[in-house]
Amino acid sequence: MTRVNGSNGKVPARTPPARLESGNLVVVGVGGQGVILASNLVSQVLLDAGYDVKKSEVHGMSQRGGTVVSHVRFGPEVHSVMVEPGSADWIVAFEWEEGLRSLSYLKPNGVALVSTERRIPPAAMLDHRDQSLEYPALGEVPFGVLALDTFAVAGDAAAAVPAVAQTVLLGALSVLLPFPVEAWQASINAWVPRKALTGNLRAFERGRALAPEVRAAEAAARTVARTVEPGPEVVPSASASPVEHDGAKRSRDGVAERLLPVVRIERSWCKGCDICVAMCPEKCLVLDELDVAVFARPERCTGCQLCALLCPDLAMDVLWVPADDLTGWLFANEEDRVRAAADPR
């Protein structure tokens, strides 16, 4: 292992060893991003170099927008088909969150090449009321991770087929593996569909051109790993490109004022037809004892206005009111209800 003085910031030009004994690679991404194709492509290079190779992934439900993980192991004789947690030499991640999720596989001194492409899943967003997002920030780059804006690096190489941008990561990976560029090109030629071939070869070249940054990341991982316990340590990244900063939890809270929807019901116009109650997607409305619609579950209202649009008597409308005033609005409504109940017309 090369000794590197981490403090001077200089990284010696380091070439990969002439021959690796064995290695573990994990390729991750979201269904449809080309994870399996990429791991096939790498496996081809390894096979051509004479290794025993085993490769494993789970098909089936992972096609449908779920996580896809492919394990590639090589050496003189490979047994288990899966990379154990904490034993991946390299991680190639096509998506930011999946990259962070896969870090449990990484060796303490391993390198993760992670695209900053974000595929925010529907599940992270479907919070009807506070509309917050659960998705890790781009700003904090965990230790051992090289965050790469693959679209920026790929540039026009990915213009025709956007998925090609991720091939940048394979170019970057090729810097860390001791195989001639021709072997990679041959494998790309063998595996990539013809219409995307030129773009893939160019994206690969651009990734490979990041060699200084990739080697710096590798050297940093090797240096710091001696003193830092494996864990979710956050250290400044040796990032090849600036990443944008945004909050881990994004919400409308705290930005100017927070608006919440309120259904205002003109009680004297409501004839209790039940349409709004039946059609409200969130079941916010009920009929009271007088068969008049009541905004019973304000905490579920998304402000979709379906009730207002459907009401044949135009008895309802939806207002967006400041969160601070919400109690006042609801309370006024409740007063209406109590008064009407006491004095039926």
């Binding site: 085993k54 979710p232 608006l259």
Partner: protein
Amino acid sequence: MAETTRLALLSGNEALALGAYHAGVEVATGYPGTPSTEVLEHLVRISEAGEVDADWSTNEKVALDVGIGAALAGKRVLVTMKHVGVNVAMDSLMTSAYIGVKGGLVLMTADDPGMHSSQNEQDNRYLGRFAGIPVFEPADSQEIYDFVQVAFEVSERFDVPCLLRTTTRTSHARSKVEAGARVVRAVEPSFTRNPAKYVMLPAFARERHVVHLDRLEALQAYVEEHPLTVEELRSRALGVVTAGISYHHVREVLPEASILKLGIEFPVPVERIRRFAAKVERLLVVEELEPYLEEEIRRIGITVEGKRWFPRVGELSAAVVRKGFVEAGALPAGDGPSARLPVPGVGNRPPVLCPGCPHSTPFLALGELDAIVSGDIGCYTLAAAPPLSSMDTCLAMGSSIGIATGLAVSGLSKQPIVATIGDSTFLHGGIPPLLDAIHRQANMVVLILDNGTTAMTGGQPHPGIAYDIRGRAAPAADIAAICRAAGVTSVVVVDPYDVPATRRALRAAIAHRGVSVVVTSRVCVESPVKSRGPVYTVLSDRCDGCQACMKVGCPAISWDLATMSTPPGVKIDPAVCSGCTICAQLCPSRAIVSVRDAKADDAKVLSLAAAPAEAGSAR
């Protein structure tokens, strides 16, 4: 032979197809099911139509029956299915051991430890033992290729079907395979009348049961010295009996241990195990799922440890096996790599229905109608998860209709009762329960989600599709006509992309007394011919963030991060949108329009659609 494999690494399923092909298989059938599906698909890829008669069957039992028939005609037959599929075929399998085969018959059961894509993780070694047929369990692609050829020989030699068990990891992992060439079997199909062997009247079956038991004795003697059972003597301190993928985990974690690796797990080679146990000081069994071998070994009076250290739930991995050995004291504590803690803020990424999935609107409508939904197996089972959250039961293939019937005849009357079932699943196991529901006059709706394919497993044809596995034209069953013929008086076919029509059809069906059928007919977005309309976009000045569109759970719809600081905004990823129009129909603000309309509308709208960031700040 059309060679298509470019990578010298074969998946276990590809190796199984190749091994069967090289063994001279002439008839192949099965029913799609993860992780077994790729076997037939690959066999079709590497063989000519004249060499192998391959196609999917209606269900697993039909597949096995077809296979038995072809075997009786002297052909070598491969039948493939997932573990739970064998339950469906079990009726035929039990007695097939009595009547035997003529040509070799290998039944592939693809077990799914860890339930990557299954409703249970049953261990089918027990089913092989129950049926009294040999059970082979290979550990990697090379072994799968080799074992399937041995299995054909054993099948013919002992006149018995053979079970070849793979697991998700052996089926889907890729490793090197050295392959031979196809053996051309010059067998003319023939059928010899032999009622005493082939007609299982009680009198004949009693005779055959004796034959079956004699055969088991012969098989027991055969497996004892079989070369597929391998003894690897290393350290005498610890011996491990194992089989299948677990073998590689043990080799990975404890390279010094002596190993007895079983290639055939039924009958269990008990004398081999006895001899091995005598050579080591301590005996452990490492096996996935049930303590099958452990019980067999304990039964012959040998002290053995197994499930005490290794889990009975989920799939094994090197890490899990390592943990077991540490707890058993065979490895020092703290052995092995240590993993990082999870990064905070990383959420779940559950599987979702595809953009434009025609299953989404019927389930959206069912949610609005507050129906009790008896679901079934297929992509649409994902409707149980948010945001659709409109499935209440899911048990086994075709169970939806029977369970709904049971709920309906129990007198539940407050909520409508709806069974939902896909086209392939309906043909697989939905017709008998439909007949039952009609005969019982159950008050319920059967919603048949017809997307013209077996979608969950990657789009295989079924008897309702006008082409076969090789893409040749084939007769197709008409699902609506089947329902009418069964006696359903109210059968409506509706396009699920028409949201109001789907809602109306379901409301009308619920109002109908007795069994009514709604067929939502729209081809799967991932079918061979991808259906794509013009892409849709959100006019951010009209969107008020009500999330009516998000209720579909479409992966193309997300929050517009550029407008998150202002009142909410939604965007549609044009690369993901399939142009299905469902979200546009749901939007109360009419903020979702096709890009084409947006362009026609006016130039301002166009600029907003192209630059959402500006649109946000303009509000």
